[in-house]
């Protein structure tokens, strides 16, 4: 399969991962078996890592919180940032960890049942790790857009139902 078609498959799945191989094959004018095979390959190579729903948890559970934590660390000999990142991302509370450029090193997204739980996680688990120099916690107050999707989408389809 060409790289171009492969890219189209990813584009479609990133928009809606429920679209099955058969429909994708129609959409990109390719053989269904080949599309299914390509998707398997992308999964195997961990290009496609997982199929998740984008959920607006705020609507489901008001107490649930997320926090973005800026973490400054001392990189370790031979292992750089990887070893520390690993110590951090293994916690179940941690949803994402990114190594970033700028005034701090790791951006850690943490989720907890409530604010207290997140605060305790930072105080007792995160900041005590050897090599962690400092943390700065910012609680997420509202999500506007997640993964390319506008959460509170008030841009309704206001087109007339039938037009020329």
């Amino acid at each position: 399969m060409t790289k171009e078609l492969s890219k189209e498959i990813l584009e479609i799945l990133r928009q809606d991962c429920r679209v099955d191989a058969e429909q994708i094959a129609v959409m990109i004018n390719a053989d269904p078996a080949e599309v299914a095979e390509e998707i398997k390959r992308l999964e195997r190579d961990r290009v496609i890592v997982k199929y998740n729903a984008v959920v607006n948890m705020e609507k489901f559970d008001k107490d649930m919180v997320q926090a973005l934590i800026e973490v400054r660390v001392t990189p370790q000999r031979e292992q750089g940032f990887d070893a520390l990142a690993k110590r951090i991302y293994r916690f179940a509370e941690v949803r994402s960890v990114y190594l970033v450029s700028g005034s701090y090193d790791l951006m850690v997204l943490v989720e907890g049942l409530d604010m207290r739980q997140v605060a305790l996680f930072v105080a007792e688990k995160l900041s005590v790790i050897d090599g962690v120099l400092s943390t700065a916690t910012s609680f997420v107050l509202r999500k506007y857009k997640e993964d390319g999707v506008i959460i509170l989408d008030d841009e309704k389809d206001d087109r007339l139902v039938v037009t020329a």
Binding site: E11, I28, L160, T163, A164
Partner: protein, 390 residues
């Protein structure tokens, strides 16, 4: 008592009401109907374009512009026409209009005199025939069939030409059929026109939505530039229908004639819409029209799904290679399009427009795929149910 029948212009009264209107009223009554009847993009205008208009208003750009339209915009349009279609126009040969709709009107008003005949493709967009008639012209339909993939051929155009023929409307990619015409398919028709004084009025509003090869403008063919009025706009390519912004390109003599009408009727296109359009082209040149390309890819996928869906359920559907419409044939159902579409709407709550709205054929329905993939899949499922019902 006032007898309004005596007051109303006969020319206007003689134009039959839009077939779309009737269907619109019917569909509007239905709650939660899925509409495949919409003739505009489901995408919202890209934010950078909307923002440019907002800034322009904030800066107080709220006045008339030149009748031609803002010069920077026309310079960009000139560059765009060249880059996209290989057409050379100076900014003076370009006029910004209130939608491509105004441009069609101006083109016809500039050339049609009472009794003149204008060849109009059929099926076609609803406004050509009325606009010819408003000028006292006589629309002469060029009947196009699915056997010929809804294209013109010399065989169906030539017999219609006589000394009263003033213009031919070229409308590809076509609404409602989705047909396109390639350069080599346009060529014989262009050759036919070259020995005449017939003007080609080419409505190319769907030019960016071409799914195979590149859009060919009839004006780019040998000897055609000087006898063609090219009409285009921002509605379809940049999802800007509500901004009402189009443009027309033509040789100076023709453009100046249209400009005369425009300056006495419309003055100029809305200034904020022109600011938005300027941003659409400016950013387009910056990112090689990536947004347009993205939209086209998205439409193309939906196009394949809907055509495949119709064929799967046993409706013959020719391959539409442009615009955002599929035009399946309903003959196999034993029902006329009018009855089929009304039944489909009432029974399954899916709105499609019968081909009678676009001409005399009662055999097809126009299905717009300018709607989400989920809607298309659900609509296809319901249409299949309806086929089993009847």
């Amino acid at each position: 008592m006032v007898d309004y029948n005596k007051i109303v212009s006969r020319r206007v009264a003689e134009v039959p009401p839009s077939g779309i209107r009737k269907f619109f009223d019917l569909a509007s009554e239905m709650e939660d109907a899925i509409s495949l009847g919409v003739g505009e993009p489901d995408f919202v205008t890209p934010w950078n374009i909307r923002e440019a208009a907002i800034y322009s208003i904030e800066r107080g750009h709220t006045h008339y512009t030149s009748n031609h339209g803002v010069i920077e915009l026309r310079e960009y349009i000139a560059e765009y026409m060249d880059y996209r279609f290989g057409l050379t126009y100076s900014p003076g040969q370009i006029m910004v209009t209130v939608g491509a709709s105004e441009a069609i009107d101006l083109a016809l008003r500039a050339i049609v005199e009472p009794g003149d005949e204008v060849l109009v493709p059929e099926p076609c967009y609803v406004s050509y025939m009325p606009k010819v008639m408003f000028n006292g012209g006589v629309p002469v339909p060029i009947r196009m069939s699915d056997d010929e993939e809804f294209k013109f051929t010399v065989d169906n155009v030539k017999p219609l030409i006589n000394e009263r023929t003033k213009a031919i409307i070229v409308a590809f990619p076509n609404n409602p059929t989705g047909a396109i015409m390639t350069e080599s398919e346009l060529k014989p028709v262009a050759e036919l026109l070259q020995g005449t004084d017939i003007v080609a009025v080419s409505d190319e509003i769907y030019s960016e939505l071409t799914y195979q090869g590149k859009h060919a403008s009839i004006a780019s063919l040998d000897g055609m530039w000087e006898r063609t009025i090219v009409i285009n706009g921002f509605s379809k390519a940049f999802a800007m229908t509500g901004w009402r912004l189009g443009y027309v390109c033509a040789p100076t003599e023709l453009l100046d004639t249209m400009l005369k009408i425009h300056q006495f009727t419309m003055l100029c296109a809305p200034v904020m819409s022109q600011a938005a359009a300027l941003e659409a082209l400016r950013s387009g040149f910056e990112n090689n029209f990536a947004d347009v390309e993205k939209m086209r890819r998205e439409y193309n996928r939906r196009r394949r799904v809907i055509v495949d869906g119709f064929r799967e359920m046993g409706l013959s559907c020719f391959e539409p290679l442009g615009a955002f419409y599929a035009f399946p044939c309903l003959d196999s159902t034993g029902m006329g399009a009018d009855r089929f579409c009304e039944g489909l709407l009432r029974s399954q709550k899916v709105a499609c427009v019968p081909s009678t709205a676009f001409g005399t054929s009662n055999s097809f329905m126009r299905c717009s795929y300018a709607t989400s993939l989920d809607n298309i899949n659900e609509a296809l499922r319901r249409i299949k149910c309806y086929l089993q019902e009847i």
